[in-house]
Symmetry: C2
Subunit: 156 residues, 2 copies
């Protein structure tokens, strides 16, 4: 079973987003072993954005193990249709690449250190979403991807 890590900066305060995330994790459990790894937001109060992003990136970098296939969720990444994204997941399934590890930045975005280690960058929308919403959308699209791969109908 494909192992998928989702590294995400910060916690989810809104109950409705936590519930949505848990719902998709539950639905995904028959397709993949998905784990969300939350890392701390920077506590720097008056530092530069760069310093904050650097600290948040380091928290993630410490957790990533050699062999993980790192994919940034990035406004400047490549846009996929849901069908193409399912193909993208299928390529990893077929090649036996595991784990694949998505990284979702915090409220300020992603540090450059993360850009350097990422194999791919994917963009969910040209619009900026909240990091909470990004987590929900990513999980839903992975779930949708597996439904497409398995030729299951999905009208929701």
């Amino acid at each position: 079973m494909l192992k998928i890590n989702v590294y995400a900066v910060g916690t989810i305060k809104e109950k409705f987003y936590r519930d949505a995330i848990n719902e998709y994790l539950k639905r995904l459990s028959r397709f993949a072993k998905v784990e969300i790894i939350e890392t701390p937001e920077s506590k720097i109060q008056n530092g530069s954005i760069e310093a904050i992003l650097n600290e948040e990136a380091n928290h993630i970098l410490k957790k990533i193990k050699p062999g993980e296939y790192v994919i940034l969720v990035d406004l400047h990444g490549k846009e996929y249709s849901s069908e193409d994204f399912s193909e993208y997941i299928k390529r990893h399934l077929d090649s036996g690449t595991s784990p694949i590890s998505f990284i979702i930045g915090g409220t300020l975005g992603l540090g450059n250190e993360l850009r350097n280690i990422a194999k791919d960058k994917i963009c969910l929308s040209k619009m900026t979403f909240t990091h909470q919403m990004t987590r929900v959308i990513l999980l839903e699209q992975i779930y949708r991807g597996f439904k497409i791969i398995n030729n299951e109908s999905y009208h929701h």
Copy 2:
């Protein structure tokens, strides 16, 4: 105050999506008069997709009044960054166009009758989202748009 209608096919079953929608409606209430108008899903069981979309479109068309500026939320529409989308809303604010009326299709999409009356088509993502999620994202982006217009910080 700008009046914004959101026509949407079908109801939202998941409590977490309803809660998310209500949260953004609450936040939006100081910027605009936003109303969600839910129209029924087609009850056709064995008809063509075209017949279903046609019926769902007619439910919406019956509700729309002359003078509404109709905007389709459509996978094949124009993609905006959040900044450009806030500019788009601002143009309506400045010109006094009101109401502006977004239409979100149901699980099968949008009928052609709606394409014919729409002034604009906007695309939230190249990915296909659930119609529930589309409703949340649209409201969040309208809210984000007003925050940008009003130069208010927004880190969520």
